[in-house]
Chain length 340, copies 4
């Protein structure tokens, strides 16, 4: 069975696992106070060009979104996000569980626009009754988005500029950040994110780690952030588990290098689909390829390949997703192309 | 430096790590739907003698307490716990963050008594104004407790009986359950817990795993428990990380066997302390040894041994804790005894 | 200054105030256990044709929405509402503050349709990943809606039927219910609501009371509803304040009779606006009249009349709202028409 | 039947009701923006000697406690209160429902001491693991307390001083404040409270109003307090209902004058009980008299007098409470004394 179901199908990158193994019996203090956490944070700060920033390690994506948003919003504020944003749709109400509303903007290919954001904010503050409404308290975007698309530098600068004008922290969900950074169509690096966002996270779960996301506050974390992490049940006793993994991922550019494999294999697959005349749902710059299949074709393919249903297009056609990752073998891609 | 600071100072037991390594590149589906999760659950159900029960894997202790309690309580209910219970003191208000009160009972050596529980419930329901108060909705105990003590079978049966009389689910926090099961002073096994509790968890973080707690509902989990796990940010994309580890821990009784090491080393240490005339804070049946040290002695020892401050006894004396674990070497215990 | 700003500009209807005055020095027990609360509840149950139903009195509209929704939803559920629903827009996130998401449907003139509701539910349950999403747990509509429009009996039966098919409680916000019942275009009475909804409230604040909303559960209230009312700070010590007022409102059909005044005056005003060639924003069947004004005209009128800004139509035109109520004098309407 | 069951058995003081009646048909804008609210606030600021303070009107006591505490605490903070504090016992978990823990101190006659508060704070900050605990974020006391007792000026200054040293806002629950101010044993006035507390409320429900509590921030309310009031469902559309009542209560010292009646009648009753040899549970300085009754006596008395059960003293004796209020007639007190 060929596996293109998602980008978290394997365990950890061998170098990450090796680092876990070689440090396994060291006796280290808990809750992220060990030297591996410290040096991983230092490496990340360096890669992001924010020597005075703060880095925290959390376990997974929904947790990270809920902890960051729940910690940064004031009680009367909500988070602005694309209607298709992960926090709005696929997190079982984790944001609302912290007491906050998700305020939605229209999306195009998973992205919000500066124009829509500006309109939203002007309308809100222009409404005399806005004291009876949820205040926008921060802006959430994902990069890559749910649909694998990327913000351009210009788009991100515009959004960031509006956020700063309205004093709204900008939060970038980077669950698949490596694949964004490695994309040949990206003009944004870690240092750009650190310059333009107030908080973002570098996803590990989908990019080479067993688990773990590195939250970067380029300036400063909220006061007592650690206590709030604990309060949301997100503080690991063996913090080393995350520190050791990110220490490996941020040694010798491993994070970026392994991300490139996902891009290479995805590009090969997308090109082949186009060549074979398949209709792409959108042209993806990263590791998720969305394509329209005839239902009969889908049925047949399912017997030999694992991939994801995305949405129904019409009675006879379905949008499906093939995901590659740091672990995808080019030979599997070729085998898949063979079947298409 | 000798390490007796806590029981989560090392990584995973070698067999656990080996199992992670050997399964690392297998392509598995996510969110706990992989075969390792399934077989680990099956092994746990078998060990607990509850073939129809449900098992879920979560990442850490506070998370598990918050998810279980937050999912089982009705909105107008609180959880009854010892005044010293972890949920009442050391979880940064994680329970209250889910909207629920911790209703406290007096404790003796970290344990609540059936008598106090019964009095509390009779007083509550005897109070005509109890509709204006938080209803007791479940009972939380830890076994071993915060102080390393153990409930006897008779004590647990009494508590369980009262809970059933009042239709209150009984929840046992087993963050250190292995050390309780392995204690020579324990008369309670996994099957007893499954018979007497409505939900309990088998701690992995402190007993051989990198992370992970196995929550056991001997009868049935709350409806849509998985969605609530997600809502609290506690669902791992790579659920395999937990399944593989518990699969190893519940193969060939590994969990119990490695727990025995903690007991052996703790017993040796406690005996030596007594022989040397030290005052024990309490006589511990498990892996945490509490002893009173003169402050000057404490100072000296700190240079060569890592251990924990527990509480001030008087101006000149302090209660400290030495913790052993599955990983503690007897030679380190001997070296510590040498220093005492 | 003519007053058409809203429908809560005066105090209480004189008969309501008289009843408060005549019972003022009676010594009554608290928290809604007094005889006036009892007899008001009995009268309401009778008017609604639900002799076994339960009635509770709360203080205001947002409070009622938050208490009812917060008490009926399970933790993993959200409330389905029109995108323009009061709970979604104008309650400062009161629903999310209770931990629940508002799941929005498209609206037409403030109303949702059975078709959209059905599609939403089918899509939700058809999505394999719906365990990662917020479950629809109840449906909220307002009648009259935010825009003063009314559901027809057929529309409400369709929505109610879908709710029952999916076992979703249907909740009707009746903040302005009297004006809906009194509308000449309404084919729905209290008994219809009691038959088709699982909970609804009869608004007092906007229909003759100083404050107060009567929540009707035609079958049964959630267990321990009173404790949850208290938990949300919504239980009045002097419950009589609400009981006495609803006792007056439900004596000799006062509630309906005084509502008719709002309809008569609104109809007169709407007719006159049409006759004078004004563009109506929508044709209102109740007490809120929405009309498009040239901005210059709006400016002039503001000097002599209080009314509400609704929304900007274009650079030169604005939608405004004139509201009538139980207290509006026909002579004021005539004076307003004079000015138009 | 003589009525000494509580201090909220009647409606409003006649002057309050008269003011509601005379202003009833005035057309006023909503949500507390009317002139009666403004002038009531001004009168209260003056009475409290805080011309730059902010005053808000809320409906009831539990609501006020939940809104004030929920608005002032940061997410990781709890409120410090006496173990017997209303917020800890009798509010159905309203504080925890906002996500915050009540951190309890020992009490003596319903009061906390500066010494205990200081110890608590020193212990908290002295504990190296306090990042894993709920931070004390404000201090709650009631004056009079649940037991009708009063803080002396010296006691309050000590508590206030410690709060300021630790930058903890001090909140005084004044549900029965009038009876505290009017007590012959009080050495604290409104201006003292405004000087020593950061927020307090002047209870109306139990002191002459139909409903309503005036929250006073002697310096400044939290930013966007009004939106949070709305978010907790506590904002009245007809804000006038509260403004008009407090306008009456703070005209010509009415609030204080009517409170004196409760004290006079309570003093007469307490003196008579002592003279007749009854055992007082405590010597009350305000309007709640606690006395020990033989159970047989209690039984007999219940046939002719309404009063409250407080607690069982032993098999044959019970502590009961007789409450007086602004409305209690001296002739009823004499009639009660006759029966004793």
């Amino acid at each position: 069975m060929l596996f293109f179901e998602n980008d978290y199908g394997e365990g950890a990158h061998p170098a990450v696992l090796a680092h876990l193994t070689e440090t396994n019996m060291e006796q280290l203090s808990g809750y992220g106070t060990d030297p591996y956490c410290s040096q991983a944070k230092e490496k990340i700060r360096k890669a992001c060009g924010c020597p005075d920033g703060e880095v925290y390690f959390l376990v997974g994506g929904t947790q990270t979104n809920a902890v960051v948003i729940g910690s940064m919003l004031k009680r009367y504020e909500g988070v602005v996000a694309a209607q298709t944003g992960h926090v709005n749709i696929h997190e079982a109400g984790a944001i609302e569980y912290t007491g906050h509303k998700v305020l939605t903007l229209p999306q195009r290919e998973g992205k919000i626009s500066g124009t829509d954001l500006k309109n939203f904010l002007e309308t809100f503050y222009g409404d005399e009754t806005h004291d009876h409404m949820v205040f926008p308290g921060m802006v959430y975007i994902s990069h890559p988005t749910e649909l694998g698309t990327l913000y351009s530098r210009q788009e991100l600068e515009e959004i960031s500029g509006i956020c700063r004008q309205y004093k709204l922290p900008l939060f970038i969900d980077g669950a698949r950040l490596g694949y964004g950074l490695a994309s040949s169509r990206s003009d944004l690096g870690l240092k750009d994110l650190a310059r333009l966002a107030d908080v973002f996270y570098i996803g590990g779960t989908k990019v080479g780690a067993l688990c773990g996301e590195a939250v970067v506050f380029p300036q400063k974390a909220p006061a007592h952030f650690g206590t709030m992490v604990k309060q949301q049940g997100a503080l690991l006793a063996k913090g080393r588990l995350l520190g050791v993994q990110f220490d490996a991922l941020f040694t010798d550019d491993l994070y970026l290098k392994i991300s490139e494999n996902a891009i290479r294999t995805a590009e090969r697959l997308q090109k082949a689909l186009e060549d074979k005349g398949y209709e792409l749902y959108l042209k993806s710059p990263t590791n998720q390829i969305f394509v329209v299949l005839e239902n009969r074709r889908l049925e047949e393919l399912s017997a030999q390949v694992k991939f994801s249903f995305w949405e129904k297009q019409d009675e006879n056609h379905t949008v499906v997703r093939f995901a590659t990752s740091w672990a995808t073998k080019m030979e599997d891609v070729e085998a898949l192309i063979e079947l298409l």
